[in-house]
Structure formats: structure tokens, C-alpha cells
Amino acid sequence: MRKRFDKKEFVHGLKGGMPIAIGYIPVSFTFGLMAVSGGLPVWMAVFISLTNLTSAGQFAGTNLIIAGAGFLEITLTTFIINIRYMLMSLSLSQRIDKSMTLGERLIAAFGITDETFAVSSMEAGILTYSYLLGLILGPIVGWSTGTLLGALISSALPVSLSGAMGIALYGMFIAIIIPPAKKSKPLAYVILISVAIACILKYIPLFSIISAGFRVIIATILGAGIGAILFPIEENSKEENIKEGETI
């Protein structure tokens, strides 16, 4: 019989989460900066990071809020971007301690990000609640702290520098997708198709009625959909591909 709270497991999880927490700080810093320079109050920027705990989804959603988009567009965009967590949650569900209660599952699920998933996937044996709780704690604190710092510093930064920081997030997205695309042709094609469609929708006047959020949704569904039809991934190779991802 496993103990409900195992301190050793918890500390082991905390240690695994530390590098993730540190890595999150510059990314969430940029988020805090962006949200506040877009007109949101500091507490709201931190509130977004605490409740969403995700990068691409909350960056896109916050951009849409700042742009004054509608609820439907915001909902669909963030949902599509975050759909990938379903796969990670599924994979984790095969590995966790089967005696975990519903409440414990609800808490552990909140902390699933690309990085916590990658770290816990490398872990041998059954994943206990104590371990998972320790693992997600650091990243949650790191993500919110970075946001708070960026939000507070936003007004103190010179305009030329805060303008330059606008490219940071996109730079990180590029850093996430290029290395795996170098190794996998299907991934490279998926990215190229999706980028091509996003550009077509943006620049061809016929499609100018499509807003930014829907543009990303359409490009994603077509890019990933065409990729799945042309290059379906055979079993076994699943795990490795996800581990290479570095988005939160």
C-alpha cells in the first residue's frame, strides 16, 4: 500500500522540475512584458499565467484579448493550440499510480506542459501523486514569477528595447520547431504547409475577412491534417517525437 504523501517522491519531483522552472522565467518574462505593454494590468498578466500555465495558447489568447477579438475566436484559437495536451495526458494516464483519486488526478493534470511531460516520461516506473505534485510546483512558480517580473519592468524598459523584445517569443517558437524539423522530413513539410497557408490567408485579399485567430486555426488543421494523411506515424515512434518537443 502506497502512502498518500511520500516526501521522498515529492522532493524527487521538485528536483526534476527545477530546470524547467528556471527555463520558464525568460519566456514568461516576455509574456508579462507583452501583456502589460498591450494595456492589461499587472495582476491580470499574472492571473493569466497562474490559470493558463501554457505558452503558445496564452500568448495567442492574450494577443486576441488586446486586439479586442470575440469570445468564439479566443476560445477556438486557444483550444486548437492546446489540443496537443490531450495526447500527453493520455500517455501519462497509462503510467500513473492507478490508486490516484479523482481529486489528485485533477490537480496533477493542471501541471501538464510539454516540459513536465517530457521529464516525467523519462522517469522509470509508476508515477506517483507525490512525485507529480513536486514536479509541477516549480514550473508553476517559475512561470508566474517571470510573468510578474516582466509585467513590473515593462514600463521601466526603454521603448527601443521593449520593441526589440517583441520578437523574443517568435524566436523561441523558431527554436522549438527547427531542430526536430531538421531530423524529420514529415515535420518539416507540416510546418511548411502550415506557414504557407497562414501566409496565403494573410496576403491574398480574398481571405482578408479571416481574422488572425481563425487564420492560425485553419493553417494548423490543414498543416497537421495533410501531414497526418501523407505521413501517418507508425506505432512505437510516438514517444520519441513528443519528447523532442520543447514548447510548454
Binding site: M44, F47, T51, N52, A56, L64, G68, F71, I74, T78, F79, I80, N82, I83, M86, L87, M88, L90, S93, I96, L106, A109, F110, S160, G163, A164, G166, I167, A168, L169, Y170, G171, F173, I174, A175, I176, I177, I178, K182, P186, L187, V190, I191, I193, S194, I197, A198, C199, A219, T220, G223, A224, A228, I229, P232, I233, E235, I242, E246, T247
Partner: protein, 103 residues
């Protein structure tokens, strides 16, 4: 957007972020069988990050030329498999320096 509306939008965002995380772990507990759906789910993060980045990155700095320079540096550094933070800082510095040279 009013603060109140923004607050509602954030709650919705939090929900649609949490739902995909929690559903399989708490409810389904089964595996998806179709290799096409699995592949689709696996390609989604890459497709989404690509579509989020391009062409918007070119308008991220308020100046097309500095943004293009930053993008090129980010692409080169990523191709050399530098870490996320290095790529981001490299792009920021490039934009900052080219901005100083142009303006």
C-alpha cells in the same frame, strides 16, 4: 476590450487549456487507436507554432527590416540547435542593434 470582458476571456482560456489536459487523465483512460488521429495530434504543435510565427514575426518589432534581420538570426541559431533562450536573446539583440543603426 473592457477589463470585465477580458477577465471572462481569461477564464474561458483557462478552461479550454485545462480540458484537454484533464479529460484523458481523469475520464477516458483509454488509448486513441487511429494512427491518423494520433499523427494529427502529434503534428499540431509544430503546425500551430509555424502558423503563429509566420508571417506575424515580421510585424513583431514595429519595423520590417529589423524584424527580418532578427528572424534570419533566429533561424540560423535554431538550425545550429542553440537553446531557446540563446535564440531569443540573439533575435532581440539583432533587432535592437539593427534598430540603432537604421534609426
Amino acid at each position: 476590450m473592457s477589463l470585465q470582458k477580458a477577465f471572462v476571456a481569461i477564464i474561458i482560456m483557462a478552461l479550454v487549456t485545462y480540458i484537454p489536459r484533464v479529460m484523458p487523465l481523469a475520464i477516458f483512460r483509454k488509448e486513441i487507436k487511429s494512427k491518423y488521429i494520433k499523427s494529427f495530434l502529434q503534428y499540431v504543435p509544430y503546425a500551430v507554432l509555424g502558423a503563429l510565427t509566420f508571417p506575424d514575426i515580421f510585424y513583431s518589432t514595429g519595423n520590417l527590416i529589423t524584424a527580418i534581420c532578427g528572424t534570419i538570426v533566429a533561424l540560423i541559431l535554431s538550425y545550429k540547435e542553440k537553446s531557446l533562450v540563446v535564440v531569443a536573446i540573439g533575435a532581440i539583440l539583432t533587432v535592437y542593434i539593427t534598430g540603432l543603426m537604421i534609426l
